[in-house]
Amino acid sequence: MLTVTGLCTERDERALFENLSFTVNKGQLLQITGPNGAGKTTLLRTLATLYQPEAGQISFEGRSINAGDPNYCQSLLYIGHQAGIKAGLTVKENITWLCALQGGVPAAAPLREGLRALGLQDMQHSLAGSLSAGQKRKVALTRLLLTRASLWILDEPFTALDKASCDWLTQCLYQHSGAGGAVIFTSHQALTLEGITTLSLGEGGHDE
């Protein structure tokens, strides 16, 4: 689904990784591991075409992509460190504009079901600014339920989540990869996930 060849990126005068090449195919769960500052977030942002690499080629389903490629963005869902939630809007408004920008506006039923799955249904009309970091993260994660994107790129999705939400998220990842999608994510917690491949970005960023 996604092939990366010869990727090398510099971050303030330091070469993060030198010609890193790997492929992500359908149904794969790829976890990027490595010490802090090894360039995990930069790699994810490069894959999401937010960060321009010094050299290298990223191709999605055979076609090489560059920033703002419409059909690549169509099938990509990126959730970064910040949840992308506007503090001035309510939870429901936030989700509607997030999904509208990404693709179709969610119908009322899946939206309500998604919120209930994450235990946010009673906070639907409260301002996002009044939510805790974990709740904001969950509001961002509801997009996972409502999107049709096949490739998910999640940056530290498990941070600030309670136990129940972590299980829900793992369940969600498995369900998505089972349905033929791919997930690339980073996480610091010791995960007990089986069937995932890892890419370590220690020194040299070689593919395990």
Binding site: L50, C73, Y78, G84, K86, G88, W97, A100, L101, G103
Partner: protein, 225 residues
């Protein structure tokens, strides 16, 4: 409804909702405009002839400065809470979404200034024929000010205090609009035909509409690196 109008509508609604919830941010530029317009007669004395002569220039400079005030956090807030990345990663063309954002910004800051012109004409004692032209000039000119200012705001999105910096960066681009805007009223007052100047203001507006969102899109992609 096509995907794009859906996304554009949602973005426009989101912007207006946010501005509606923080009304003070909206009122600040207008109050600044009113203050400047009342200060000048107090500073220069109330002789009608003098005031009428300087009114168009003062109105334009005050409009330009008050729009600058609200430009600073046009993109900065989105950059802080991460929604700028979602804008970049949307399948819809980025310049079009940026144009929607700039349009809502103009609706909230530029349009009120245009609607305030009759009041300003009263304050500054402008003869009634010339304030029609001032209003028309502002209607054509303030969107270009908004579009050009958005480029400055996009270039300085990552920086903390970028108010004055935007003014410095975009000053050369404001000058043609300022010249033709205030020139319009002067030629109208002198009774000369004004069709040419209106055409030039319109041409500047079309140029800004065509190029400014492109430059903004580029600058935002660069700022998010």
């Amino acid at each position: 409804m096509s995907r794009f109008t859906l996304a554009a509508g949602a973005l426009c609604q989101r912007e207006l909702l946010l501005l509606w919830r923080h009304k003070t941010n909206v009122l600040q530029p207008l109050i600044f405009y009113l203050i400047v317009m009342t200060l000048f007669p107090l500073a220069l004395g109330h002789s009608a002839k003098l005031l009428a002569r300087i009114a168009p220039g003062v109105a334009w400079v005050a409009a330009l400065l008050s729009m600058l005030l609200s430009l600073e956090n046009l993109f900065a807030k989105d950059h802080q809470d991460g929604s700028l990345e979602i804008l970049l990663l949307s399948p819809q063309p980025l310049p079009a979404l940026v144009l929607v954002k700039i349009f809502t910004h103009w609706l909230v800051t530029g349009l009120p200034i245009v609607l305030l012109t009759p009041l300003m004409a009263l304050l500054m004692g402008m003869p009634d024929v010339s304030w029609h032209y001032l209003m028309l000039g502002l209607l054509l000119g303030t969107p270009s000010l908004s579009l050009v200012g958005a480029i400055g705001s996009a270039l300085t999105v990552g920086l903390s205090s970028s108010g004055v910096l935007i003014a410095l960066l975009m000053l050369p681009l404001y000058i043609p609009v300022l010249i033709f805007g205030s020139g319009l009223v002067v030629t109208a007052a002198a009774g000369l035909p004004v069709a040419g100047i209106l055409a030039i203001l319109g041409a500047l507006l079309c140029l800004c509409i065509a190029l400014a969102p492109l430059a903004c899109g580029f600058a935002l992609r660069v700022a998010c690196q």
